[in-house]
Symmetry: C2
Subunit: 221 residues, 2 copies
């Protein structure tokens, strides 16, 4: 019975990592769409969303069944609750990819100009946060999870700088408003990806250490 | 034993409603700050956030203890999982209030001009969604929860209209960029409040009907 239970936990973990891979790929594709202004990649991101949503429901159902049938306690209970939370965060990372793809599609109607914001770099940092938080989850490593919080400050700072630079550009060159506004919102979407990575890191710490570390920092703007 | 368990569930529900009251009040105050440009109200919102965060942790701990000690199944298990999710959504509603307060504080540095967006009306609609979702939770009424989804479309439409009107204003009068941008972001924050209300409504349906109704609609931009 216990062997089967632990096999089920491993299976749950594996499914969550598939979910993570899909969410990460969606972000990467949306940024590729931004970089190349290739609207067919936007469509790809939009079309992959239902599959992410389906997998979220499937993982939640697995977790719920395990809670109901196995009635785990202590660290196993915390693990399953963490999976439920991480699952929700990953689905929202997928939502951010969709939001970015929609913005890129909007930008397609305007000239592709140079903007004072390095969206791919911001995306790289936000994605690295997600990857590191998941690495911490795979290895059950709370110290590694800790290191995600520092990266979140960097993402927040980059986003603040983007806000300043883009609003200045808008004031100086109002004809560039549509592109600048869309880039500003994409930067915020990436900041939210970083916030989800922070949530995942907190869940790993909650699972491993049994401590609740939420709200160590101020929320995203 | 079972009597005590059901008392504990009632207590959990009560604490969640306190949490909801605090989150709603934070939104109301942030909008009052916007309406009056009273920065002391902004400070009030920022100072009330730690209490919301503390209560979130307390409720999660209560839910976790109930899962570990009582090992509930079926509808009781779904109820407790719903509380955990609703709790997280309410905390994020509080975060949105903080975000709005920070934006209002930024706007304090600029002239208080008439903007082509009715933020108080948008806030009223988003708050009404939260209240209706919570009413559905209190009464265990899945049909009432259904009605929240229609309201979400209205909030999304109002937000889209705000985006269009404000970006047009920025293009026409670039000197009004700071105020317009901040209002645009406040409108998006309110749209996210509506999204959280939608999540709560979905959790009520999941609890009552045992059905997972998530992702019936497209995500927010």
């Amino acid at each position: 019975m216990r062997v089967k239970f632990h096999q089920s936990l491993d299976e749950l973990k594996e499914r969550l990592l598939v979910m993570a891979g899909m969410a990460e790929q969606a972000i990467q594709r949306s940024i590729e769409a931004y970089r190349t202004r290739d609207l067919s990649i936007c469509e790809l991101v939009l079309r992959s969303e239902p599959a992410i949503n389906r997998l979220e429901r499937e993982i939640d159902q697995m977790a719920l069944d395990l809670l109901a049938m196995e009635q785990p306690t202590a660290i196993d209970l915390r693990f399953i609750l963490s999976v439920i939370r991480i699952n929700a965060d990953l689905e929202r990372v997928g939502d951010q990819a969709v939001n970015i793809a929609v913005r890129v599609r909007e930008m397609g109607a305007f000239a592709n100009i140079d903007l004072p914001v390095d969206i791919p770099k911001l995306a790289e940092l936000a994605s690295a946060m997600v990857r590191k938080a998941l690495q911490a989850f795979i290895e059950g490593d709370a110290d590694l999870a800790d290191s995600v919080f520092v990266m979140d400050d960097q993402v927040d700072n980059m986003n603040d700088a983007a806000y300043y630079a883009l609003s200045t550009l808008i004031k100086d060159k109002p004809e560039l408003t549509p592109q600048s506004l869309n880039a500003l919102i994409i930067a915020r979407n990436l900041e939210r990806v970083g916030d989800h990575a922070t949530n995942i890191a907190e869940d790993v710490i909650f699972w491993v250490r049994g401590a609740d570390v939420r709200h160590h920092a101020t929320p995203a703007q």
